[in-house]
Amino acid sequence: MDRVLINVPKQVTRGVPFEIKILVSHPMESGQRRDQMGQAIPRDIINHFVAMLDGELVLEADFFPAISANPFLSFSAVAEKSGILTLAFTDDKGEVRTETAAVTVG
């Protein structure tokens, strides 16, 4: 989870849904694979995602091993005023990565 790319429009219109796109570098190791020695490779995925806009929920997601490596997610939000979008990713080790992006209502 060392790199997170967040794409939010430079300016959004009040009350009009806008699209958010995110990419996260993560192997999303499914736990179904074996290495060359035949040993099971332990599962290691981002299993939970929360997007909040100024403390209000936009989207919450549970991910299972069927989500591809380097996950991509696109969803939409509505803003009444400029604010901060907070994205939190939780992986199987319990590590939480938080990223923010400004949302500007013009």
Binding site: D2, R3, N70
Partner: protein
């Protein structure tokens, strides 16, 4: 056979002359599914940009002092592989980056599949996106590269040309055999679930025909890359591409 081939080539050349927009050569993009193309078309959804982002951080840390902003390297990647008179050898872009690290920075070399090398070459490649590939057809490397392309190798006794020229467009298992124009490397491959260099793709092919794999820093790797670049001359750089 030869006569027919040259006749066909002449017809192709003629049709290209009549309508300059018609490009008979197809990049891997043209042979990919609509969904894979869409992944490449949108920078916000192209996972290769995770490596570009890493490349930007590395660039600011290690390269900017000498080279300035990464944008000053527009057109550079389109000219590789390039002959280096000082080292008296042909270098791929990756080999040049490693050479810059070891010779100029005194830093340890990157392994050929190091994510940082992929990140930097993706960043430098991106600066040339949309420009025509324009490697110098320098001898003797070009002829060496073409010989490698046409030589039957491995336990399957196949040459690159037998698949990627004679059988391009046909299907092998579920996949369309591409014409083998390396316009988008380093590229994100869905099969790899990650980023890889042209060398990794060539190694993939060499293993596929059960041939001996040449080393990433070998003259063979650079010569074959040069032949591929000259063969695709004028096609647009797509780095960082997405391929199945």
């Amino acid at each position: 056979m030869k006569i027919w081939a040259s006749l066909a080539a002449a017809v192709l050349a003629l049709s290209a002359a009549i309508s300059p927009a018609a490009e008979p050569r197809r990049s891997g993009y043209d042979d990919s599914s609509r969904e894979t193309q869409a992944m490449q078309d949108d920078d916000a959804g192209n996972p290769a940009f995770l490596w570009v982002r890493q490349g930007e951080a590395l660039w600011d840390q290690d390269c900017k002092g000498c080279h300035g902003a990464a944008g000053t390297l527009r057109g550079v990647a389109a000219r590789y592989p390039l002959f280096d008179p000082r080292a008296n050898r042909l270098l791929t872009l990756e080999q040049r980056i490693v050479q810059c690290r070891t010779d100029r920075m005194g830093a340890p070399a990157f392994a050929w599949d190091d994510e940082r090398l992929l990140a930097l070459s993706a960043l430098v490649g991106l600066q040339s996106r949309g420009l025509p590939l324009n490697a110098e057809p320098r001898e003797p490397f070009l002829s060496q590269g073409e010989a490698l392309f046409r030589e039957r190798i491995g336990q399957l006794n196949l040459s690159c040309a037998q698949c990627h020229e004679e059988r391009a467009g046909l299907r092998l298992s579920g996949a369309t055999i591409p014409q083998g124009h390396a316009t988008g490397y380093p590229a994100y491959r869905l099969e790899w679930q990650g980023m890889g260099s042209l060398y990794r793709r060539l190694r993939n092919c060499l293993n596929g025909v059960r041939a001996e794999v040449f080393a990433p820093d070998s003259p063979e790797a650079a010569a074959l890359a040069l032949y591929l670049a000259v063969r695709a001359k004028g096609m647009r750089v797509e780095t960082p591409a997405v391929r199945p």
